[in-house]
């Protein structure tokens, strides 16, 4: 027979847990309101930045040489032949756990994108440039292209100095991720991981990818819950620095998109390069050329970093709101479950108590009967 005191203790501990989850729920709720507000006031800015980028890039056809961030897909392939070819991913997750499946959803998406090998279903075919996730498309284009020429670092420096698009040999020579294999890649494959660089935001993301042996070039902690523009700027500077080094051929951002308080989906967005082929369809009817003041290069030099920072900042806001709403849901579920558990334990407790009383009465009656 279960011990009454034992059950009482269990009830008490469940009630304590319930208090904690309830408190976490309320904290998440109040922070969530602030996060959602911040996100909603940022959304129009991001949308307009994207619109402008799309319009300009639609016009860029044939002028890709103007800026190292803007390329055609053919140029991208050419660059891969020259031996560039690492992929950089920026993964935004959370610092803290206890947010339901928030982090694991991001990681699932991240692995899905990072380990994409050109096999499996191709979701990029019906892409009309609305979503701006071109990683898989880029990968498909680059698949099977072997670096044919290897530049020495010296040559690369000369290229940079002469203003050409910097191109470098990927670390390990031809052993880069896209070294022309069409067989499925394993993420613990050394050669494969060699071709991947990661920037992580949030402690959870860092530990997750570190355990799996990824090459994390920088991680940011303590910024994901209350995003600030200056951190987005910092990440942007790092991303551009890596991209300009010529080793990186494609930069993808993975974050959680906040749709509503009950629906958050992981999403991936290509930050660099801007491949004009993807934008042409969207603006096929635009024929007029833009006037750039003072000129294309200086405007793009200022505008493109701004676009990337805006994108990262927006993604951080999306991620923060998603994290808090996931935590809210998880914690209110936990509180409800605790309530139910307490109810069931109470029932059990009373049953046991009654059984004890019945037993005692039986004993007394039995004893009295024996005396007669």
């Amino acid at each position: 027979m279960a011990n009454l005191q034992h059950i009482r203790r269990r009830i008490k501990s469940v009630k304590n847990i319930q208090k904690i989850t309830n408190a976490m729920d309320m904290i998440a709720r109040s922070r969530f309101n602030a996060a959602r507000e911040a996100l909603l006031s940022n959304v129009p800015y991001v949308a307009k930045t994207r619109e402008i980028t799309r319009r300009i890039m639609g016009q860029m056809r044939g002028q890709e040489y103007e800026h190292p961030f803007v390329k055609t897909r053919d140029e991208l392939i050419a660059e891969q032949q020259e031996g560039a070819g690492k992929f950089l991913f920026v993964v935004i997750a959370s610092d803290k756990g206890l947010a339901g499946s928030f982090s694991s959803n991001v990681f699932k998406e991240a692995h899905d994108v990072i380990e994409y090998d050109g096999t499996g279903e191709n979701s990029s075919l019906d892409d009309d440039g609305e979503e701006e996730n071109f990683h898989k498309k880029n990968f498909d284009a680059l698949k099977g292209i072997k670096p044919i020429a290897k530049r020495t670092p010296k040559q690369q420096r000369q290229m940079t100095a002469t203003g050409g698009i910097a191109k470098a040999t990927g670390r390990g020579g031809g052993k880069t991720s896209t070294g022309g294999t069409s067989e499925a890649r394993e993420y613990h494959d050394e050669n494969y991981i060699d071709g991947i660089e990661l920037i992580t935001v949030g402690r959870k993301a860092t530990t997750h990818f570190k355990q799996r042996g990824y090459n994390i070039i920088k991680s940011y902690h303590g910024i994901s819950e209350r995003p600030q523009y200056k951190y987005a700027k910092e990440i942007t500077d790092l991303v551009m620095e890596r991209f300009e080094s010529g080793e990186i051929i494609d930069v993808t951002l993975i974050y959680t998109q906040f749709k509503s308080a009950i629906s958050c989906t992981p999403d991936d967005v290509t930050l660099l390069p801007i491949v004009t082929d993807d934008y042409v369809k969207a603006s096929a009817n635009l024929k007029e050329e833009y006037i750039y003041e003072p000129d294309v290069v200086s405007i793009l030099n200022d505008f493109l970093p701004r676009r990337i920072a805006t994108r990262i900042y927006g993604a951080m806001l999306h991620s923060a709101a998603s994290e808090l709403s996931s935590r809210m849901n998880a914690m209110s579920n936990a509180t409800d479950n605790a309530q139910e558990l307490v109810g069931r334990l109470n029932l059990f407790y009373n049953k046991v108590r009654q059984a004890g009383i019945t037993n005692e009465i039986n004993e007394i009656v039995g004893g009295a009967n024996a005396l007669e």
């Binding site: 959304v43 800015y45 307009k48 402008i52 523009y229 007029e288 006037i291 003041e293 701004r306």
Partner: protein, 142 residues
């Protein structure tokens, strides 16, 4: 009279201005620009200044702390770091910022070598912002 849609968005306040207007007078890094409806496509960078918006017979001002402007024949989109209508401007804060920036610039100019800690670009940008804010408000610059 023909009109053109003006939209101003900032990263943390969302869309702060969206209206059909007759003319916009703004200042880019290349100088002053007047935008009328059906303007050719244009992309430029703005400096901190007081933008003048003409609608109907009236004229309003809007403070812009720098950003980008895209013009299409039907629409002007401004992506500003911050944008404030005259009513939202904190005059005291702007005055203080003005004084602070000016002091820094004068100390820097006296002996640039001993004051290497001063970020002169930042101070000058701050001065321009404060100046523009006060201008929108119609407060005389001290």
């Amino acid at each position: 009279m023909a009109t053109i849609l003006l939209e101003v968005a900032t990263p943390d306040k969302g869309e702060v201005y969206a209206k059909e207007i007759n003319m916009l007078i703004t200042r880019s890094i290349c100088g002053e620009l007047g935008i009328l409806p059906k303007h050719a496509r244009l992309l430029t960078e703005l400096i901190p200044h007081a933008m003048r918006i003409k609608e109907g017979s009236g004229e309003t001002q809007l403070f812009i702390s720098g950003g980008f402007m895209e013009v299409t024949p039907e629409k002007i989109t401004i992506l500003a770091d911050a944008a404030e209508a005259p009513d939202d401007i904190d005059v005291d804060r702007a005055k203080e910022a003005y004084k602070r920036a000016e002091e820094r610039i004068t100390t820097y100019k006296q002996s640039p070598k001993t004051h290497e800690e001063i970020d002169i670009d930042r101070a000058e940008a701050a001065l321009a912002r404060a100046k523009a804010r006060l201008l929108v408000k119609g407060v005389p610059i001290p």
